[in-house]
Symmetry: C2
Subunit: 297 residues, 2 copies
């Protein structure tokens, strides 16, 4: 019996704070601010994908755990910075006040910086246990590099820049897709790749999962755009109609709701096709696509 | 003939932009904002220390270069975020408008995030060239871990948090030292350690250089505090008297100018004592201490 999404989520939640280094008492407020956003709910999609990808490839999720946690730290830092007044200026996230609403802007910036730094510290610390073992270090360096690349200037940060720059102006569907691929897709793809490396996946499997990941990442953002129109506040834990209010370009604003649903269908199919060869032990990954589609209904 | 500070600085300046990954044309504004702060002057103290430490230990600075550049990316990100309106709210840095004054707050936050991410990407990328060579990977992981730790929640970020929190209130000399050790000292010490690892230094040398680094880091901040009182705007490229204006706690505000000079003398002596055994080939490191003292006169 394969592990389900909620099983991975429970593992992530259980160990989420274990990897934060012991912080001096004088900086306890920094720890509080970091912890606040880490524990304020969240789907844990990226770390769950990383752990699932590791097991999918035949690896041991204990080895993948530091990398899964690091990815969630990076995701959380990005949300804290995204919510800042100078950025999206959001007051509410996952049903709770955003970090800067509770701790102030300066601390929110530093809590984000702290989480990003800590993510890398966690991964290096794990690598430090495998000196003299080139194979063990190699897969860890590969996993970490994917995560750094997915988070950085050719990934999430680039997407966020284009997203901010395109506010209040009409953009092409191509530009919108560029934003989504980078802002959301890059770290999702990186998480899956990192998990696959930790499980010593074959290059054939990595190639096919790349296609799955790209389609999943885009689906995920389109589903998010759809939910901002048809979702309800209680279920989502954030205000709906916010994208429209902020003059954000979304799949629904550019193409309309029907076309967004249609694109979601296409992408879902492409994601499932990519992993068809592995159908027997890819239940986690195929189910995720189905659930994503159902969330928007 | 040993290399001088300006030789290292020239090497850093020459290669400073070489390690930024090719950024998509759609994110060119991100590249511009990152480049602006990277090339807006700067002493290049941390990367110079890293390169010098590598050569001091008998290593090849070509190997250390990616780590030196990564440290300067991290230092630059920290300056961009420090200058933000929510933090120190500085308009002028190294004689030029600060990043957010030119590119706006959102981009300044993202340019900082981009530089921090890129620093780690650069280091991982370098490690990727040494698969199958455990010794080469090991020293690189050690160097990177030091840098991540020095930059993170037990280092620079912690110092910045305490600095922000202590504004507008009187703090003890002990707390001030805690701030300095973390905000400025941690990354300086990490840079020196990283360079020593890259040069395969003995643990005895690393221990002694730790003492040097701790004294240098604190000296450097005290010299900075003194310069904020006695320096001149043209030479410094930033406003003087800014600390007092911001109600910042500094060595001079807590102990007075004379005691600050005295402490600088003590620390300088301790730094030089620590490297006394290496006197014949530690010219770079001893000269640096002398120059630091002279800067404040």
């Amino acid at each position: 019996m394969e592990r389900q999404f909620d099983d991975y989520k429970a593992i992530v939640n259980k160990h989420l704070l274990d990897f934060i280094p012991v912080i001096d008492n004088k900086s306890i407020s920094l720890y509080d601010a970091m912890k606040y956003s880490l524990t304020a709910g969240g789907k844990r999609l990226r770390p769950a994908l990383l752990l699932a990808a590791c097991e999918f490839a035949g690896g041991n999720i204990k080895e993948a755990l530091p990398y899964a946690i690091a990815v969630e730290y990076i995701h959380t830092y990005s949300l804290i910075h995204d919510d800042l007044p100078a950025m999206d200026n959001d007051d509410l996230r996952r049903g709770l006040p955003t970090n800067h609403k509770v701790y102030g802007e300066a601390m929110a910036i530093l809590a984000g910086d702290g989480l990003l730094n800590t993510a890398f510290e966690v991964m290096y610390k794990d690598m430090m246990m495998y000196f003299d073992d080139a194979a063990q270090m190699t897969k860890r360096v590969k996993a970490s590099y994917e995560i750094a690349k997915g988070a950085g200037c050719r990934g999430m940060v680039a997407g966020q820049v284009s997203d901010i720059e395109s506010e209040d102006s009409d953009i092409s569907g191509e530009m919108l897709e560029y934003i989504h691929i980078n802002k959301t897709g890059a770290l999702i793809k990186a998480a899956i790749r990192a998990g696959l490396y930790m499980g010593n996946a074959s290059s054939e499997m990595i190639e096919k999962m790349d296609v799955y990941a790209e389609n999943l990442g885009l689906s995920f953002q389109i589903a998010d755009d759809i939910l901002d129109v048809v979702g309800n506040v209680e279920e989502l834990g954030k205000n709906i109609g916010q994208d429209q209010k902020d003059n954000k370009n979304t799949y629904t604003s550019i193409y309309g709701l029907d076309a967004a649903y249609k694109r979601l269908d296409e992408l879902s199919k492409a994601a499932l096709d990519a992993i068809a060869d592995y159908y027997d032990n890819a239940e986690f990954f195929s189910k995720l696509i189905d659930e994503l589609k159902n969330r928007t209904k």
